[in-house]
């Protein structure tokens, strides 16, 4: 075992560390695409989402992730899309 450890150490010394730029690029592409989607959204969207969630929670037991709000823009008008996953009948009882 000790010999193997030593051998690994020697091998690692010669091995080039993994290139990280590709990783950086992929992470950036994902996060920036996501942020660009949200760029045009009005500032009130998160608080609207919270209020809607509170109203629904008054009637149905619901988790935060079960409500999805998306704003889609088509030329000239915006569509507010509200997606609520209600808990199944078994859970209710």
């Amino acid at each position: 075992m000790i010999i193997q450890d030593q051998l690994n150490k020697i091998l690692n010394y010669f091995r080039r560390p993994e290139a990280t730029a590709q990783c950086a690029k992929e992470r950036l592409q994902i996060i920036i695409a996501h942020e660009r989607d949200e760029r045009g959204n009005p500032d009130y969207l998160p608080s609207l989402q919270k209020d809607l969630l509170d109203v629904i929670a008054k009637y149905v037991k619901i988790k935060r992730d079960d409500v999805k709000i998306e704003l889609e823009r088509q030329d000239g008008c915006s569509i507010l899309e509200l997606n609520i996953v209600l808990p199944s009948a078994q859970e209710k009882s």
């Binding site: 290139a19 990280t20 730029a21 950086a24 690029k25 950036l28 592409q29 942020e35 760029r39």
Partner: protein, 274 residues
């Protein structure tokens, strides 16, 4: 017609002030009457980079508040003719800059100057927003590094929506990418985002690549903008950047590593990246 240029980045420490100083010197050496304004209220630093810190008597905020005239506040640069500096105030009052005040100063400067360079503070607070608000062109200073690229993208979003040109529905602010602190060697090793990586993500026209250079620190140590260090790689790169900004066709330099011929034979990838 006066042109207003904002030097911006979102992230701090990427080279906005270094770029502002060199760009201002570059434009003035070509005979354009140029003024460079420090918008970083409370953290004045352009004066140090330009080497005029001991000659600041009145500042930007003094002018806005009517405590001094523009003529009193403008500092004449000692290196180049036709170049003036308007220092930031050291006040801690973050409401010192007002939109009306900035507009009035820019209007007054437009009567005499060809170029007004606005050195933006980091962040997206009022100083940064006002620095870009009246701009015709924007130079986005970016390091080949994740947080800088992300912040630059955020700034591009603001340029497209929160500027006077955007609000009036005029032709948008023209965007220019300035990639600074670039190390072709680290790019070749796969440890730094390449020019084409950054291009793929931000997709705005490239103005210039400024290589990581010891000359930049030496320049700021001595208060002489790095463009004036004509022997240095960074100085030459800034010189090219100014020429390109003015519409001249100058080939890009300092993008790829100078590799020995035997190494070049085996590195096809690096050429692709350029």
């Amino acid at each position: 017609m006066t042109k207003i240029i904002v030097i911006t980045s979102g992230k701090g420490g990427v080279g906005k002030t270094t770029t502002s100083a060199s760009f201002a010197v570059g434009l003035a050496t070509r005979g354009f009457k140029t003024v460079v304004i420090d918008f970083d209220i409370g953290l004045r630093n352009l004066d140090l980079i330009m080497g005029c810190e001991r000659r600041v008597v009145y500042d930007f905020v003094n002018v806005i508040r009517g405590e001094a005239s523009l003529q009193q506040a403008l500092i004449r640069d000692k290196h180049v003719k036709d170049l003036y500096i308007l220092a930031a105030s050291q006040t801690r009052d973050k409401d010192a800059l007002t939109s009306e005040g900035v507009e009035a100063v820019l209007k007054e400067l437009s009567k005499t100057f060809d170029y007004i360079i606005c050195d933006s503070p980091a962040g997206i607070e009022r100083g940064a927003q006002l620095a870009m608000y009246f701009a015709d062109s924007a130079i986005i200073v970016t390091n080949p590094e994740v947080s800088s690229v992300r912040d630059s993208d955020r700034i591009l979003g603001l340029l497209a929506s929160k500027t006077l040109r955007a609000k009036e529905g005029r032709e948008p602010v023209s965007e220019h990418l300035l990639l600074t602190r670039y190390s072709p060697k680290r790019v070749a090793n796969g440890d730094m985002l390449s020019l084409s990586d950054v291009n793929d993500i931000l997709s705005i026209p490239l103005l210039a690549v400024i290589p990581e250079s010891q000359a930049v620190l030496r320049a700021s140590n001595s208060g002489v903008p790095v463009l004036l260090d004509k022997e240095s790689d960074a100085g030459q790169a800034y010189h090219d950047a100014v020429a390109r900004f003015l519409g001249e066709e100058v080939p890009h330099r300092f993008i790829s590593e100078k590799t020995p011929w035997f190494k070049r034979l085996f590195s096809f990838k690096e050429k692709e990246a350029v």
